[in-house]
Structures are given as structure tokens and as C-alpha cells.
């Protein structure tokens, strides 16, 4: 359980990190290291050089923009977990982050690191895909954006170009007063890797009907997916359990779930449907509760 030898650099600016990355094909970025270091300990990863970006202060922030909460790539998960702005504006993050590892790994693990590793069981990529987040990166002195749905391309594979360094993620804010979220996952032990996870965000109109809905499923397939056909079908409806279950099952009928020792493909498909139904139900309940609360405040 000892990593293979490597060289270590600690650049102070993003462009310096990019230059180091571009100069060495075997180099890897390290921020929190909570995924990379175990992989190195087991020699599943053998980078020739580690480029430690954890101290680059411009990569660590949480700030509200007009329609999004922007989070720096090196922002530690524990900071976002306790951030009041995020809890209010992107409640799905607050709901999902406690499921990531343990407090001790969230103390080091970063938002960008989880995205860049793109583990199919990871919670943050699922949230990014479900909410249509935008990821930003820098390469060769230029900044670019990419949509989360285009970023995750395969099992631990992303569209991040060679020599690029992820700089931040923007999670869209749903501004309505009747917005609620739900997040569920199954795993063998609390905080272990998810076998399946589901996330839902719902906005209700004044009559309690579904105005807008996003449903995502993670850990079931190579990359997190959106249940777009179900979303389309449920928009405008009352989100009763039977309709939601039928729509979700139909949307999951064609996926090719992962199949391994922990969970079979069929189990993952069934569990994904159940969790998605629960996530939508929770989202509807919290949306209704939030609406009542804002009404009470207004009086």
C-alpha cells in the first residue's frame, strides 16, 4: 500500500499548473487526493508527477451569480456542506454532500476533484448532470466552458482535454418559491460507494402542479443520466406516485446498467426506479413545505 515514486510540484497559479500538465503526459492534478491517493496506494494509478493545486486560492470560492452558484474546483466538500448560501440556492448539494465518503474525507475532498475523477458512483457528477451545471477549465492560457452532460463520457473518463485544469462549476439556481429536492441512494454501509443513487428537483406552480422537474440517476450506468422522457411526461401533472413510477420505469427501460459483484444490472434498474420515485416524492413534499414557509413569512 505504498504509492510508486513521483515528482511533486506546487504551482501558485492555474496557468503554471497547466504548463506543468502540458509538459508531462504522465502528470496528474491533485487537490484533496481522496480518490487519487487510494488509487495510487493500490498502484491503480502511477502518475509521474503530482501537480498540487490545493493552495491556488483563486480556485477556492463559493459565490452567487445571477442564475447560478459558482464553486471553485478546489473548494473542499466540507465547506460547501456547511455553506448557508448553497443550502438556500442549490439545496440538492446540501442534500447530497453528506452521502460523500465520511466527514474526514469530505474535509479534504474537493468539488472539482470529484468531477474530474468521474466515478460513476460519485454524488457530485450526478448533481451536476441533474441540474445542468456548467464546468469551466483552463488550458493553454484560455478558459472554456462545458456542459456537465457533455463532460462525463464514460467510466472515470471525461471530456477534459489533455493538459487542461478544471477551475470551477456553476450550479444553476431555480428561483421559484415552490422548489424542493429529494436525494436517495443505496449502498452496503453508510457512506460507502452507492450502488444506485437518484436525485430530483421539482418546482410547483400556484395550483400545486409540476411546473418544472429534473430527475437524475447515478451509479446505475457508466455516467450519470437524466430521465428526460419522464421529466417531459410529468411536467404539468400532479406528480402522483403511480404516474411518476410509470414514467420513471419507462425512462429506465432502455438503459444498460452496470453489473458487478455488488449489484446486478436488473437490481440496479429496479432500485433506480424506486429511488427516483422516492426522490420525486420528497422533492414534491419539500417544495410544498417551502411554499408554505414563504407564504408564512410574507404575512
Amino acid at each position: 500500500m505504498k504509492a510508486a515514486p513521483f515528482a511533486y510540484s506546487r504551482p501558485t497559479a492555474v496557468d503554471e499548473a497547466c504548463a506543468l500538465l502540458a509538459a508531462d503526459d504522465g502528470a496528474r492534478v491533485i487537490a484533496g487526493g481522496q480518490t487519487l491517493v487510494p488509487m495510487m496506494a493500490m498502484r491503480l494509478a502511477r502518475p509521474t508527477r503530482l501537480i498540487d493545486i490545493a493552495r491556488i486560492t483563486e480556485l477556492s470560492y463559493v459565490r452567487e451569480e445571477k442564475d447560478a452558484v459558482a464553486i471553485g474546483a478546489c473548494t473542499r466538500q466540507c465547506l460547501v456542506e456547511r455553506d448557508a448560501l448553497t443550502a438556500k440556492r442549490v439545496p440538492m448539494l446540501a442534500a447530497a454532500i453528506p452521502f460523500i465518503g465520511h466527514a474526514a474525507t469530505r474535509a479534504r475532498g474537493t468539488i472539482g476533484g470529484s468531477m474530474a475523477h468521474a466515478d460513476p458512483a460519485a454524488e457530485l457528477p450526478l448533481i451536476a448532470v441533474t441540474l445542468d451545471a456548467t464546468l469551466s477549465y483552463r488550458a493553454g492560457g484560455k478558459s472554456s466552458d462545458i456542459a456537465a452532460r457533455d463532460f462525463f463520457t464514460g467510466l472515470m473518463i471525461t471530456a477534459l482535454p489533455q493538459g487542461a485544469c478544471l477551475t470551477g462549476v456553476r450550479f444553476p439556481i431555480w428561483h421559484g418559491e415552490r422548489v424542493g429536492v429529494g436525494f436517495h441512494e443505496v449502498n452496503a454501509r453508510r457512506s460507502d460507494f452507492a450502488f444506485v443513487a437518484a436525485a430530483a428537483q421539482v418546482e410547483l406552480d400556484a395550483g400545486g402542479k409540476c411546473k418544472r422537474i429534473a430527475i437524475g440517476v447515478g451509479a446505475a450506468t457508466d455516467v450519470p443520466i437524466r430521465l428526460e422522457s419522464a421529466e417531459k411526461q410529468l411536467t404539468g401533472g400532479a406528480l402522483d406516485e403511480k404516474t411518476v413510477a410509470d414514467a420513471v420505469r419507462a425512462a429506465l427501460a432502455d438503459i444498460e446498467p452496470l453489473d458487478d459483484l455488488h449489484a446486478s444490472a436488473e437490481y440496479r434498474r429496479r432500485a433506480a426506479a424506486s429511488l427516483a420515485v422516492r426522490a420525486v416524492a420528497d422533492a414534491k413534499i419539500t417544495a410544498t413545505a417551502n411554499a408554505l414557509e414563504s407564504k408564512a413569512r410574507a404575512h
Partner: protein, 164 residues
């Protein structure tokens, strides 16, 4: 490479290989054997130390990454030589240990918890130590120990009731 590490209030200049984990550095270079090596890939929690006051796994950090941070090991939590911290005391009193392998990490995790939350609920204590594995199955007394320590630490600065 040469690094400077601040551990338990002292600054050490050390020559380490880049791949040396903070855990191995503490144990082998500084002889702080209270940081225990268990799984060495971030699962068991036996290597927990405090980095800038927060409980982290020292096997998941390379020593150069800890440069500039303040590291506290179990050897650094006592108020003085031969003394115990209130948390260590509580572990002794409730017998919150059996073989002792997970104990330094449990104590440090409790320190980090109580520093941020002086009156944790039972659920919060359970959640806090959920990343620390005890294979003697002594969790019940560990939870008891942390609750007892929290109670005492809360009371430490409370005014004494005047005798009637």
C-alpha cells in the same frame, strides 16, 4: 525533497521522498507512533490526525501536501506530560477501548467533533465516528465516552452553584 512540517507545536525540517504519506512521515521520521497504520487506503480511519484542527486521514495525504498546515497527533492533545485530555480521561472511565488500535483516531475524531459542536446528540456522535472502524465492536462505550467528555467540557467553565 525537503519539507517543513508543524507538528504538535514544533516545526521540523525533514527530508522525505515525495511519495511518503503524512502517516509514514509522522511514524517513521518523527516517531509519533500514535498515528496507526491500518488499511493505508482511507477506509479504516486508524491513521486519523488533525490537520488545521480538522480530522483527516493521514494515509490519504502525502507529507509535502501538509507543508504549511498545523498537524496534531494523539501525542499533542494532552495538556502536559503525564496528563490526559478530558476526552482521553472519559475513554478510560467508560472503558471506551479494547485492543486500543482504533483509540488514538477515535479520540482525535472526538476532539474535532467537540471543538465544533460542544453538545452533540447521540446521532451526531455516531455520524462523526462512522468513518473510524473498531473491530473489537466497542462502539457503545466509545459513544458513551464522547458524550461524557462533552458533558464535562461543557461544565468546565460553568459557574459553581453556591452552597445553601
Amino acid at each position: 525533497m525537503r519539507i517543513e512540517l508543524k507538528v504538535n507545536g514544533e516545526t521540523h525540517a525533514l527530508d522525505v521522498e515525495e511519495r511518503t504519506t503524512l502517516l509514514d512521515c509522522l511514524r517513521d521520521k518523527l516517531a509519533l507512533k500514535g498515528a496507526h497504520a491500518g488499511c493505508e487506503h482511507g477506509v479504516c480511519g486508524a491513521c486519523t490526525v488533525l490537520v488545521d484542527g480538522v480530522a483527516v486521514r493521514s494515509c490519504l495525504m502525502f507529507a509535502p501536501q501538509a507543508e504549511g498546515s498545523v498537524v496534531t497527533t494523539i501525542e499533542g492533545v494532552t495538556p502536559g506530560p503525564g496528563e490526559l485530555s478530558p476526552i482521553q480521561d472519559a475513554f478510560c472511565e467508560t472503558h471506551g477501548m479494547q485492543c486500543g488500535y482504533c483509540t488514538p483516531a477515535m479520540v482525535l475524531t472526538a476532539h474535532a467533533l467537540l471543538a465544533g459542536n460542544p453538545s452533540p446528540t447521540r446521532e451526531e456522535i455516531v455520524e462523526a465516528i462512522s468513518g473510524n472502524i473498531c473491530r473489537c465492536t466497542g462502539y457503545a462505550q466509545i459513544i458513551e465516552a464522547i458524550a461524557l467528555a462533552a458533558e464535562r467540557m461543557r461544565g468546565a467553565n460553568a459557574p459553581v452553584e453556591p452552597r445553601s
